[in-house]
């Protein structure tokens, strides 16, 4: 059998072996160079000794299948793989920066910093889920905040599940594999297909980072792991009083034992972490003590209590399809009531058919950002607040629950780019907006809708009022 020990200076398939940078139970990592690849690279070599954990082999096989198919800024770029028959290895981009594991001595961190890290990781997870992969081992040592771009990169896909490939880990090991403090309850019960398992792990990470304490400790037995189904963690605010209620709301939602209770997608979690003012606070936001014993015991033994099951697990392939973020841009300045009504009808059709869709109502307040007093109108009303009120009034007829709708007044000089920025930053799946019907205005101001149709990285619906409704066009 091949060995994970590679001598420095050895040449392997054109790669020159450099320093060993990590020696783990499952694999060794070496810095490598190659004349044809002008970037920093790592070579991962699995530990395959007789009598070693066979999971090392299988998880290496999984990574060998998954990594070459991944792309984008949130994963290391795949370079090469070596065959098992000769010398198994994987070569991939070495991400500049430290893993979050290096931050552990600094814990607890301020709430805003934890939310910012959480949002970056959630954005990375959304990109991974979009590529049909559930990571299943989200923890500080598997996340690097890139020192060049600042985005979060996920590493180590050895325990991951790919929705379209054979799941070798599942078939080989019916016992759960993962990292005890972060593992979602359904993962403890052997379910590997639900992308929301990663949101649980991220919730546990944020809890740990903001309080300095792991929400469920570090249990070493299956029984200890299963306890998280009914045993709720101490609310973060009990451990650290300055954790804001909105962050406690988000973290405890991530830690819901039933995946249905968590955010439907990583994109929606990232959205909440970057819009604290839009988080709907429930009683758990203000909790300062665990549920009483009687409630916990009931959760444990009551026959109707939640138990993870394969039947209700969601598949990663349909993750984002089931819970899109829909944005609607509403121009409140133009008095075109027909168009505003037509927009509402369209949004209703789009959003009400998808039970987990989230709606973001946008309005662009044009103006000079530097002069603060300009946000007051002639009568001295705060224009920003006035716009928010109008947006809420517009959305009232949609009758959406508060946690599925949010309102945003974007202050910018140019409506088109403000909306485009918003769409990109918040991983919006579908934007709905109205088309100006006045040809004169369109010619003077340019067409915002045209710009968005051309540039938006998502589905765009442009709404016109129907001809029968009158109007000047």
């Amino acid at each position: 059998m091949a060995t994970p020990y590679l001598e420095k200076g050895t040449l392997l398939d054109g790669f020159t072996i450099g320093d060993r940078v990590h020696k783990g139970g499952m694999a060794y990592l070496y810095a490598v160079t190659h004349p044809a690849h002008d970037l920093a690279m790592l070579m991962k070599v699995p530990v395959l000794n007789e009598g070693e954990d066979p999971a090392a082999i299988v998880s290496f096989e999984m990574e060998q299948m998954i990594l070459p198919r991944l792309s984008g800024p949130h994963v290391p770029r795949f370079i090469a793989a070596g065959d098992f028959a000769v010398q198994p290895y994987l070569v991939y981009e070495r991400i500049p920066g430290e893993t979050l594991y290096k931050s552990l001595p600094e814990l607890p961190l301020p709430a805003e910093q934890v939310a910012a890290i959480g949002a970056k990781v959630a954005t990375a997870l959304h990109d991974l889920h979009r590529q049909h992969v559930v990571h299943l081992d989200v923890k500080p040592s598997n996340i690097i905040l890139r020192s060049d771009t600042g985005v979060a990169t996920l590493i180590d896909f050895g325990l991951s599940h790919h929705g379209q490939l054979p799941d070798l880990m599942f078939e080989e090991f019916r016992l759960p594999y993962g990292t005890a403090p972060y593992m979602a309850p359904e993962q403890v019960y052997g379910i590997r297909t639900d992308p929301r398992s990663d949101l649980f792990a991220l919730g546990a990470l944020m809890y740990f980072f903001v309080t300095g304490v792991r929400p469920f400790g570090d249990p070493q037995s299956l029984k200890g792991l299963q306890r998280r189904v009914w045993w709720d963690p101490i609310p973060p605010r009990q451990l650290k009083a300055d954790v804001p209620p909105w962050l406690q709301e988000i973290i405890l939602r991530c830690l819901s034992p039933n995946p249905e209770g968590r955010h439907p997608t990583a994109a929606q979690l990232a959205f909440e972490l970057t819009h604290p003012e839009q988080v709907t606070l429930t009683p758990r936001a203000h909790k300062i003590a665990r549920d009483p014993w009687s409630v916990r015991i009931k959760r444990r033994f009551h026959p109707d209590s939640f138990r993870p099951s394969l039947q209700q697990a969601r598949r990663v392939t349909s993750a984002a399809d089931g819970a899109p973020i829909v944005a609607v841009a509403i121009d409140l300045t133009e008095s075109e009531p027909d168009l505003i009504e037509a927009l509402r009808t369209t949004v209703k059709r789009v959003i009400l058919t998808v039970p987990n869709a989230r709606l973001a109502c946008l309005n662009v307040l044009k103006g000079n950002l530097i002069a603060i007093d300009q946000t007051l109108d002639k009568e001295g009303h705060n224009v920003h607040v006035q716009r928010l009120v109008q947006l809420k009034d517009w959305a009232r007829a949609l009758e959406l629950p508060p946690d599925r709708v949010s309102y945003h007044v974007l202050e910018a000089m140019d409506a088109g780019s403000a909306i485009l920025d918003y769409v990109s930053a918040n991983a919006v799946d579908h934007i709905v907006l109205g088309a100006r019907t006045s040809a004169v205005l369109r010619n003077i101001l340019g067409s915002v809708s045209m710009e968005i149709v051309q540039k938006a990285p998502c589905t765009v619906t442009v709404v016109r009022k129907s001809r029968g409704q009158g109007g000047s066009a």
Partner: protein
């Protein structure tokens, strides 16, 4: 080298032509027909001629149970519907067609791959690989890295780890699946001419030998036309009905 893998054509000319057009569009260096060119469908003559023509220019064809039964008495039993269709088929096939079918090999191995219609274990009695036990039996009967078969009409992919664990995967069309070298694989192709997995689209496979990657492909075709021909040929109704639902 890219190899197109076509199983269970079953005299469905429309499905075969659609698959071959798709193969040409994607590009393949080699065609392998995995048995059952005839039986059930209304175009046995045209299908045999297409396969025979391909074989004269480098394609490979394996014998299926229907190919065997269409040219004479068999050691195995077929159900009544299949039997009726085969007697109809036998009557319209010419001697050259029959000679071609009876000359087909049961199994062919090349470069770590084994092609067989049903199972590498007891190939001549055509057992169905429908579960883990049958898959293990087939995998144990050969040393090939990848065994490729048809016969079941439902796509599936089995692999056997060095630890002896067998697993089944239901492939998703259009995904290239790496067949890792340290495992052994049994790939069951869906049917070109009579899919039974609930999707009426014709099924075939593409194997990239350099990358050792297998892709299961689905191709929509003119089902109504194929159904119409079966009806007009006077074959049992169930044979055209099932094409519409892929069952």
């Amino acid at each position: 080298m890219r190899i197109a893998l076509l199983a269970d054509i079953h005299a469905n000319l429309e499905a075969l032509q659609a698959c071959l057009a798709d193969v040409r569009a994607r590009g393949a260096d080699r065609l392998v027909f995995l048995g059952d060119v005839v039986g059930y469908g209304a175009d046995p003559v045209a299908c045999v001629e297409i396969v025979a023509e391909a074989c004269s220019t480098g394609a490979l064809a394996i014998k299926g149970n229907h190919d065997e039964a269409a040219v004479g008495p068999t050691r195995f039993r077929l159900n009544e519907t299949a039997e009726k269709a085969l007697r109809w088929t036998e009557a319209i096939l010419g001697d050259t067609h029959k000679a071609f079918l009876s000359g087909l090999p049961m199994m062919v191995g090349e470069e770590g791959r084994l092609y067989v219609h049903a199972s590498a274990a007891h190939a001549e009695s055509y057992p169905y690989v429908t579960g883990l036990d049958e898959a293990v039996e087939s995998l144990q009967a050969t040393k090939a890295h990848v065994t490729i078969c048809g016969h079941v009409h439902m796509p599936a992919l089995y692999n056997l780890a060095v630890t002896g664990k067998i697993m089944q995967h239901i492939p998703i069309a259009g995904t290239d699946i790496p067949l890792l070298s340290q495992r052994r694989w049994l790939a069951v192709m869906g049917a070109v001419g009579q899919p039974r997995d609930g999707n009426p689209a014709a099924a075939y496979g593409l194997f990239d030998a350099e990358k050792s990657a297998l892709t299961y492909v689905r191709v929509p075709y003119d089902v109504e036309k194929a159904q119409d021909k079966i009806r007009k040929a006077g074959l049992p109704d169930s044979l055209w009905k099932r094409l519409g639902v892929g069952r």
